[in-house]
Amino acid sequence: MIEVFAVLLVTALASSLLGVFLVLKGQAMTTDAISHTILLGIVIAFFITNDLRSPLLIIGAAVIGLITVYLIELVTASGLMKQDAAIGIVFTALFAAAVILVSRYADNVHLDIDIVLMGQVLFAPLNRIELLGISLPYALVQLTIVFIINILFVLIFYKELKVTSFDPVYAAAAGISTTFIYYILMTLVSVTAVTAFDAVGSILVISFFVTPAITAYLVTKRLSHMIWLTLITAAFNSLLGCSFGYFTDISISGSVASVSLVTFLAVFFFNKNGWIRKTLKTRRMLRKI
């Protein structure tokens, strides 16, 4: 149970940290696209290696993640359709290709659809690795490494991330390459999504990326505060969701995603500038008139 929670917690922290910048850049739905299309990368890499634990799977997923982002940019830049239509078409096409590949050629392997969609965090501790004489869940080690990489990324590129998210035009004019930062960010999003894949699957990882960040966004006024509050929210959601899922014996990642929505809505309604205060204020004003 503790190990399951640890895996979930690190997943939540690693993805929500990047989620802050995805939300601020208005790229939340690009995550949706990436988290789907990395399946294609995993499938193709799996055909090459025949090993579901091969590091090549991560590389394959990262490459497909980047291709997804690049394709979306390319199609959007061509001016032939709007960005949201481009996202919708690119990701469904690549995902459809992955589904066909799995069902036609990999029916006998264990690429179960349920696990693709929601992972199976309960199984995570079964797959273990020896590290300095201690036996640890493989997923935990992998995710911790990814989390550390993400932290380093944010520390090193903090000011670049800040200015390119706030004012990309000014940043470009000031010689800070928005594109460069964006592609590193998206590479890390792909890598994080694929390592989180086993634990939480392809759709629920979107919730891990986005939900804590927008919850914090509602109430913070500084980027540094937003980052801290995002991490705290992510940890809180994991703890609550994990316990709830564990004791009611339902899908743990599904439970965390549901709890995250409840946390968000609680903040949305009840914070001091929240929906309830705003609505009451409007009512009062209307009555005066």
């Binding site: 601020l24 208005g26 001016g79 090193i156 590129f157 903090y158 000011k159 670049e160 800040k162 200015v163 998210s165 706030f166 004012d167 035009v169 000014y170 940043a171 470009a172 004019a173 000031a174 010689g175 800070i176 966004y217 913070t220 006024k221 500084r222 980027l223 505060h225 937003m226």
Partner: protein
């Protein structure tokens, strides 16, 4: 070193396949306050974006201080239109002004004490010190524009390129921006400003470029700011050279 801060040579830009500006040759004198005026859709913002290398021209070149290289842009402080950024971004007034120093900081380097002093001084110039720790979403239109100009001052560039800085702001801010502009010009800085209010052109600027897809007129205000030129840009339908 060139005698012009900004210049273009046969610069043409098209969105998808519609030309927006056509074979522009402009020369912005160093140390001038140059206005770009013209009706909606004349390509004013497009011209600026092409100069800032934010969009690619179909043909022609643009120069910053005689150079076509991207690194020359470091001499330019760009003030975008207010609507182009997300004002709900979690940042304080001081955070935004400090961003003006980022251009001088390489990778791994955070703004230091000196940068913070420069940013504070820029805030003081724009009379915004009092709002230093305020979140940017809580600012009025005029205050937002002051923050942008303070950021440009913190940038400490020799050329200021601004896109409609006086749009939708209060009169106090407008006066402050113009007096700051004149003060900085006296120190040798160059201003290239997209401007929409025709009445104030002679008071605020000493040179003007009148644009409507092509250059209608350009030069010192006292020479080219005439009724004929303004009418030519605003009221006569320009014939489209690209269809001929």
């Amino acid at each position: 070193m060139s005698e012009y801060a900004v210049s273009t040579k046969n610069l043409s830009v098209a969105y998808s396949d519609k030309p927006v500006i056509w074979k522009l040759n402009i020369n912005v004198e160093k140390g001038s306050r140059t206005a770009i005026v013209g009706p909606n859709g004349a390509g004013k913002s497009t011209l600026i974006k092409a100069v800032m290398k934010l969009i690619k021209p179909v043909s022609g070149k643009s120069f910053i201080d005689g150079s076509t290289h991207k690194s020359a842009l470091k001499q330019v402080a760009y003030v975008p239109q207010k609507g182009e950024v997300n004002w709900d971004f979690p940042a304080t007034v001081f955070d935004v002004v400090l961003m003006g120093r980022y251009v001088h900081k390489g990778l791994f380097k955070r703004p230091d004490k000196k940068d913070k002093d420069i940013a504070s001084a820029a805030l003081e110039t724009m009379k915004m010190t009092k709002y230093k720790n305020r979140q940017i979403s809580e600012l009025s239109g005029g205050q937002r524009q002051r923050v942008f100009l303070a950021r440009a001052i913190a940038h400490d560039a020799s050329i200021y390129i601004m896109d409609e800085p006086l749009q939708g702001i209060d009169i106090t801010t407008e006066k402050l921006i113009i007096s700051t502009m004149k003060k900085l010009q006296a120190e040798g800085k160059t201003f290239l400003v997209v401007h929409h209010n025709l009445n104030t052109v002679p008071d605020y600027f000493n040179r003007v470029i009148i644009l409507n897809k092509e250059i209608i007129a350009s030069g010192p205000v006292e020479e080219v700011w005439t009724k004929e030129n303004i009418n030519a840009a605003y009221y006569e339908k320009s014939d489209e050279p690209w269809t001929s």
